[in-house]
Symmetry: D2
Subunit: 375 residues, 4 copies
């Protein structure tokens, strides 16, 4: 017999917010869930209009605000099962908290919150509730990122020594037009938090590093900069890393790298092998050895791990992209909703991310002194 699809709502993701459609597509891609309701904008009228025109929802499930969403959905027989939070950073905590208290599972955009403290409080609420919580560090959903993790875990690269991760964009290389909503909140401390570029994309780099290597950052020394005149938050930075166990590394992120689209890449070197992955060629993983030609592992191809093959949907050579990687998080979240495991970024990752962000800001304030990330 057929099983019903999961039902979900969305907070944010209204007109002008590209990430709303990304969530909708990714969440529905595998046919396991459907968007049924939401509070899509802070303005009730815009919320309703967005829900109807962007998502073809009935007016009665387009709510005025997230409080109404959680309250009224809870009363329905066909209530949503989980909520997707796709709003500016400073609102994640309150909305997530309200959702959990309303009894809904949560999928939340990163960064998790505005502080480690907020993150830990959410952790407590989640633990008490038994609800599930996913954080959308979506780059971990690419098959070849999972292949990379699998390689590290297998031990064939030996003990990891050197990690470098770079995330470069150019779209904020100058002051954005006032009507650019994406730019507006990302460069506003009140809505984005203490970090700009590092809250937005630096935290993805940190999470990718963590995901693939499994290493914990012990301490870091950062030099963040706001290059664009008048900008209050960093738009560029480089961070030296020391990991527990002795590995070293560097994370760079920038939003003033003119002409760079969304260039996330990582290199990992162990005692006996190395790997390299770049989102712009997402279906390839370069693996290097001391004593033979380097190899290129490809999504779904022979010789890749079951773990990465499970994250692919179509035959090798049919490129899978950003949306499929994003969908992989949802697919694993659904597994977990069915109590069947599920491999996706969670609150531990979110709290680690908050700690990273707080630490790079703190180190920058201290003229790049080493800051410990004691957990």
């Amino acid at each position: 017999m057929s099983t019903r699809k999961f039902r979900f709502g969305m907070v944010g993701g209204g007109e002008g917010a590209f990430i709303g459609q990304v969530h909708r597509i990714a969440a529905e891609l595998d046919g396991e869930a459907e968007l049924v309701c939401g509070a899509f904008a802070s303005n009730p009228e815009r919320s309703r209009r967005s829900g109807q025109s962007l998502y073809r929802l009935h007016a009665d499930r387009c709510y005025d605000n997230y409080e109404a969403l959680f309250q009224l959905e809870a009363n329905r027989a066909d209530a949503m099962d989980f909520v997707v939070i796709a709003t500016p950073n400073h609102t994640h905590y309150s909305i997530a908290r309200a959702a959990l208290e309303g009894g809904f599972h949560v999928v939340c955009d990163k960064p998790l919150a505005m502080s480690v403290l907020e993150g830990e409080q959410l952790q407590n609420v989640v633990k008490a509730s038994g609800l599930k919580f996913a954080l959308t560090h979506n780059y971990t959903g690419y098959p070849m990122v999972r292949e990379a993790r699998s390689l590290v875990n297998s031990g064939v690269l030996g003990k990891i020594r050197r990690v470098s991760c770079e995330y470069l964009q150019g779209w904020l290389h100058e002051r954005a037009p006032d009507d650019n909503k994406q730019a507006a909140w990302r460069t506003d401390p009140a809505r984005s938090g203490a970090a700009g570029c590092f809250g937005d994309i630096g935290s993805h780099a940190e999470n990718l590093t963590r995901f693939i290597t499994g290493l914990e950052i012990e301490s870091l020394a950062a030099d963040l900069t706001a290059f664009v005149p008048g900008r209050l938050l960093d738009d560029d930075g480089n961070v030296l890393l020391r990991f527990k166990g002795g590995a070293k590394g560097v994370i760079s992120a920038s939003q003033i790298a003119v002409g760079k689209e969304n260039d996330l890449s990582i290199q990992v070197y162990g005692e006996t092998g190395g790997l390299e992955w770049r989102q712009s060629d997402a279906n390839s993983l370069i693996v290097r050895w001391p004593d033979k030609p380097y190899e290129v592992r490809r999504t779904g191809w022979a010789g890749t791990s079951p773990e990465s093959q499970a994250a692919s949907r179509i035959p090798p050579g049919h490129p899978e992209g950003y949306l499929e990687g994003f969908a992989e998080l949802y697919r694993n979240f659904y597994k977990d909703l069915s109590d069947d495991g599920g491999d996706y970024p969670n609150l531990d990752d979110g709290i680690a991310g908050m700690r990273f962000i707080e630490s790079v800001v703190e180190s920058t304030k201290q003229n790049s002194a080493w800051v410990d990330l004691a957990s």
Copy 2:
């Protein structure tokens, strides 16, 4: 107010057929349609099981066969609007014809039919019915393929002189295991038609050439080969092309190119510029000029045509892949269903494809003599 989604059914696409999920994902990706019914396998039991387990459909809309599908759906108030035909080649014609006669729009896998004649008969039925008919030459949905066409059309490359298109796979380099359904029908003349590799992927190369350049093949000289012992249909071939207007070119396709995944590429050279696209780097289009550095146009980036930008969904640098390209065909098909235009491969393309296939087979029989493709 919100508009309802289009409803569609599927013929084929049951267990073991990867293309069924591709259609389902692509058709639903933009939130404009939903799969509601189907006849997913020739065996009624498997059809029902597939519909329920793969697509979460209710048993009463999983039909025993396509005849039942068309007949019973026609009686429902919530009947499907169109049907997707995802079956082996030899059945396309009959199913498409039945669907059209049942009053349903059609999205049909390529190649269109088993002969030019069948294609022309379908053309007649479509014209008489006023129904819409799309053929899934999905590679035309990539934004950078549309950018390529736009460049040619703009005239900046000058009159086109040389075109080469290559489509290489390796998966049939040896006799496939008997339980490989994908391989089984593709190498069986009864189900695949007179051409193997050229029916399957050579026709994609022909269509891509046609789509980007707008040129009509005037005549061709082909040398197809079946390399794998015991194989009855070509698994490799090269074709010389002469286009109306004087351009020349070559199409190569192979399924015995060991280690090649699904490597489709095209080069077009005009009097004043050239372009190069490769599916494995689908979001880049290389454009070459005589007197300045070559440029790389990227999906969604500044400097690309409105036509290609319209075929993208997410910001530049977020790779879009095979599924999104496939979805672009559906998006355009839906536009057309709403009588709002729509730019997708149709019966003209299908008939041109059949003519190409027939001609390469004919030329091979005649020891590579030139065969005219008079229309």
Copy 3:
């Protein structure tokens, strides 16, 4: 004790001819030979000026013409050991013949001559004289091209089935200015022979195919075209190939591929593996397998054959280019001069090349009919 360097002279290579310096650099690169004399231009004054200014030679070893060169050098105690022929195609035969008759070894630019017949006559002279004769199919000197040959020879790719080789340039996409000497003779039937693009670069493609695979072309069907108005020789073409033993393939060459610099590439597929090489990334050889990730062999790196390692001079990762590849031919020629073997293109290759050129011209005349290359 130290050994003296070989001494060589040059015919051609005067002012305005880039290939003269290429020969001088390549021949001297490994410190085994030095240019000591020459007849650098058909005009005695220019010959002398070129020899003195371009090559820093004494006036008394800059000769009026090649006849004088061979005659006067033969009388010197410190006479040249061999001569390099770097003149337009139509003169190769006469000069080579005169050099051999004068008792000098020869290094000759390709194509060898203006006909198979001329080639065979040179072959006879060489055999009678016991002198050495090298033909500068320089692309065979790249370490990764030698790696490719070694792979084929080792048998790991299985029996070869499919070969495609493409050589695209754009520099003749329009009529060249009258003072472009390079273009002038290459597009002049009197000086270039019956083929233009195919005599110039198509023959390199043929030789590369022959070198790597060891296969003999049994028959071919060609369609050559002169696209640029007023041009008398082909500037573009595609050729279907059938090899002895059953392999098939295609060679394409063009000089009107706008924006292409000098893009030579080859793909070879056997029953159990495939390879791909491209001159623009000359130090990489892609090797593909059915059942594991593809590998990239790199000049000098672990896992490459002794044969290719012997063709490299510097540690891996220090790119070696065109001049080093060219020098590899000379290095092997010197080995042979010392009667120590030597692996370089010779008169057999030259005659095969002439037969290829004659055949593509013949097939084109016969509307692409298959032409046998019986040897």
Copy 4:
């Protein structure tokens, strides 16, 4: 009339030292100079054997040691004009000083010396003597590196904000065999100086940054590491950079990046454009803009600067590599010897390099504190 070639000698470069042949080839490549003498090893017997067998020199110009070389050559009518110093780092200073005092121009391997102080003393000697001094930061000889500098200088990229340069090798990822001479001195503080990886290749990265951007490092914070057990010098490190004028950046270098051959790359971002160069694709320079497709400038192709075109020797598409880049330094050095300008790394670069090396070591000792590089 012809001009005589420059004559040069070499110190070091004997058996087992690949860099000796690199110098010989590069210095002679353009036909402007010839090796005539040398002291090729610290052992007189090996010196003589190397000179005769590797370089085909007469025994009487293979000297016992560099003192003899300078003294005896000075007395010859056909004395060498300049000397190439290709010895381990700790001997550069003494040999260079002796050469200058003997009246010979100098081409010296990098790093210049063992300290800034030594560098400044050499500077004084050079200034007093009027002799020429070149330092072989050879990567500055690549045409596309010169194109990059030209782009920055032209101002089209705007004021530079962000620079990152990475130089990764893997060959020292484990303890080298005892008989590996290359590894032995590079990992020995007595012969290599206070820095290992950063003295060897980090200083190339610093110089490339300096060459392309023209920026001076104001201060740096470094974290160098010796990963391989028992190793006394760094084999890996990352350095935060602050440049005069406000730009920021990072330099990474490693010799334990398993499988990396010799991967030097640099990215530079200004207010209005960015560029990217990678030695493994040395003939391409990627240039990015905010509002149009990115472009790839290619060695010698239309649209590149006269400055970079002057650094090329052969037509576009004929790859030029490491040896040609190295030769470009010599070509410029010869220009300068003829008092005709000449654009090559000199003692200013060498002293800046020594200051960089001293500072990264100092900062590492101080737990990555910022160290000023006041000049």
